[in-house]
């Protein structure tokens, strides 16, 4: 259905001739999959799975603890054995799926042990144990972007659930200070968001060294860079009221993490792929630091300065995206700038938002931004198909 629609469009636009259209249609017909049958089969499998879970759930209290633990361990062993066989036989998708399944089974095993033995601990501890047990086999066997993304989500979740011990650690190391027993959270939270992004870049670059896991490394690098952009944007946007003169140590820690992330780029031999990432890392650190230094400032100059900083940062991101032919990221950067300008407009006119003229002005600004964005995006040349990152 969908290929036919596009073929008609492309033929009407003169991009493909009728012979090509026929050949594509014949190929599609011979490779067509029975989607509806698959959907029905999938629903059946889902119903069976839910039914089994419901039966087990209803009788959970009646199943002896040793039986639960034995079944869980047996499932882990079976899944690990299957993963080993799939790895040996080079069956990529089966290997990725079983790696993901084992990743989940290990977590369920830790949770089950906690439930059976009534163990208590903060959430970050079982999550950290889970990552420590699973990261070795994931690093050796899993190569897909999907598994990489799920691992990254697990790492970031663990990092943020460990906020309390990290706070104590940073405080004990003198990175952030506390006053009257209360932490200067403005600095700490900025670090908490910034550091994992730098760490993800280092992991991604190490992952790219393996030829089998290069695609996963590329994906993790993108996640790390997105994390940096989020950290820099939040640092610039969030307007704290706390004031403290101890900005030097958090800034030094962030600078150290930035240097390590930047140095890891030298693991990549391709010099042309290095400079845009380096520029983005540098710009993100500069914006993050500027946001940190502005903590506690007040008045309209502070608000205007933060808005200008945000716009400049995203203009740099947009400029970089344009240089390396990343149209999507150029569009994202332009949208961020446009949204900030719109917010500035509404902040500036204040109560006039509710008036007809205020809304007309906002609408005109939106249309002008959309037109400018459309023209600028069309002007960005597409990147070569194999360009990195």
């Amino acid at each position: 259905m969908i290929p036919e629609h596009f073929m008609r469009r492309w033929q009407a636009a003169g991009l493909i001739d009728s012979a090509t259209t026929e050949r594509i249609a014949a190929w599609e017909a011979s490779h067509r999959r029975p989607v509806w049958l698959w959907a029905v089969a999938g629903m059946g499998a889902l119903a069976i799975g839910l039914g089994v879970m419901a039966v087990i759930g209803a009788n959970w209290e009646d199943i002896p603890a040793w039986a639960k633990l034995a079944v869980d361990l047996a499932l882990n062993v079976l899944c690990a054995a299957a993963l080993f066989v799939f790895w040996q036989r080079k069956r990529a998708w089966a290997r990725e799926f079983s790696a993901l399944l084992l990743f989940g089974l290990v977590l369920s095993g830790i949770s089950l042990i906690g439930q059976v033995y009534q163990l208590q601990s903060p959430l970050w501890r079982p999550l950290l144990l889970w990552l420590a047990l699973c990261t070795p086999f994931l690093a050796l066997l899993a190569r897909s972007q999907l598994v990489g993304a799920i691992w990254a989500v697990a790492v970031v979740t663990t990092w943020f659930t460990a906020e309390a011990p990290l706070r104590h650690l940073f405080e004990a190391a003198g990175v952030v200070s506390s006053r009257d027993g209360h932490l200067d959270t403005d600095y700490f939270l900025r670090l908490l968001i910034y550091l994992p992004a730098c760490g993800m870049i280092v992991v991604a670059m190490a992952r790219r060294l393996s030829p089998h896991a290069r695609e996963q490394g590329v994906f993790l690098l993108r996640l790390g860079l997105v994390g940096l952009m989020v950290a820099a944007s939040l640092s610039v946007m969030v307007d704290d009221q706390l004031r403290d003169d101890g900005w030097l140590r958090p800034a030094a820690v962030a600078a150290g993490a930035t240097l390590v992330a930047a140095a890891s780029l030298w693991l990549e031999r391709d010099v042309t792929a290095r400079w845009p990432v380096l520029t983005l890392i540098g710009a993100s650190f500069a914006a993050w630091l500027a946001g940190l230094l502005a903590v506690g400032a007040s008045g309209w100059t502070n608000e205007a300065g933060r808005a200008l900083l945000f716009i400049v940062y995203w203009a740099v991101v947009g400029g970089l995206a344009a240089r390396i032919g990343q149209r999507t990221w150029f569009g994202v950067a332009f949208t961020m700038v446009g949204l900030r300008l719109l917010i500035l407009y509404f902040e500036a006119i204040g109560g006039l938002t509710a008036t007809g003229f205020g809304l007309i002005g906002g609408g005109v600004l939106c249309l002008a931004l959309a037109t400018a964005g459309w023209r600028l995006t069309r002007g960005v040349s597409r990147r070569p198909a194999k360009a990195a990152p």
């Binding site: 209290e61 084992l102 009534q118 050796l140």
Partner: protein, 196 residues
């Protein structure tokens, strides 16, 4: 197939399974060589967002010497000494509560005193206005001296009502090792085994 990568993969795959088995073994070992102590629990705030998965409670000790903190909200690490004469029925409450004395700064290997029949390592919180002194064994503390008791989803509301209506009716069997570490062996309602 090369031997070294295969061995590395086997080791990586064996790691989580061996670790899970070791965790189970460690808990079984903890329970097997331990002394049992039955402690009543009292309810805290039943409006836990995860109600149904577990209930939140705190151990109800009969204090002979409470924890004393240098500042407000401070936590004191140490242990409680379960006194030899702890199995005396509290007539006012009509229940048996372990009579304990807090030992600030106690560490494994430290002496305890002749009147202690058990030592439980953990953290203590001093009495505050409206809140009694609290103590939770180190391995069971879910924060602030509270413990999470995993119970079935069906029985959780009933047990919460019981905690409010008849304090002391829900008790926990604590398995206490000679080094002061404790684990929950079982839950009891009016002395009857509820769940392991």
């Amino acid at each position: 197939m090369k031997l070294a990568p295969a061995l590395a993969v086997i080791a990586a795959l064996a790691l989580p399974i061996v670790a899970l088995a070791a965790l189970i073994g460690q808990q079984e070992h903890l329970l097997s060589g331990a002394t049992m102590l039955n402690v009543p629990v009292s309810g805290v705030d039943p409006r836990d967002p995860l109600r149904g998965r577990y209930i939140v409670a705190q151990f109800d000790w009969d204090w002979s010497g409470e924890p004393v903190a240098p500042t407000r909200f401070a936590v004191v690490s140490g242990a409680v000494c379960v006194l030899a004469d702890d199995q005396v029925r509290d007539q006012a409450r009509d229940q048996i509560r372990p009579r304990v004395r807090f030992l600030a700064g106690w560490k494994a290997g430290d002496g305890s005193g002749d009147d202690c029949r058990l030592i439980i390592k953990g953290r203590g919180w001093p009495k505050e206005s409206g809140l009694p002194a609290r103590f939770a064994p180190e391995s069971l503390d879910a924060g602030g001296g509270l413990v999470h008791l995993f119970v079935s989803e069906e029985r959780a509301p009933e047990l919460e009502r019981l905690l409010r209506a008849r304090p002391g009716s829900l008790t926990v069997d604590l398995a206490v090792r000679p080094d002061g570490l404790a684990a929950i062996k079982a839950l009891r309602v009016d002395g009857q085994l509820l769940a392991r």
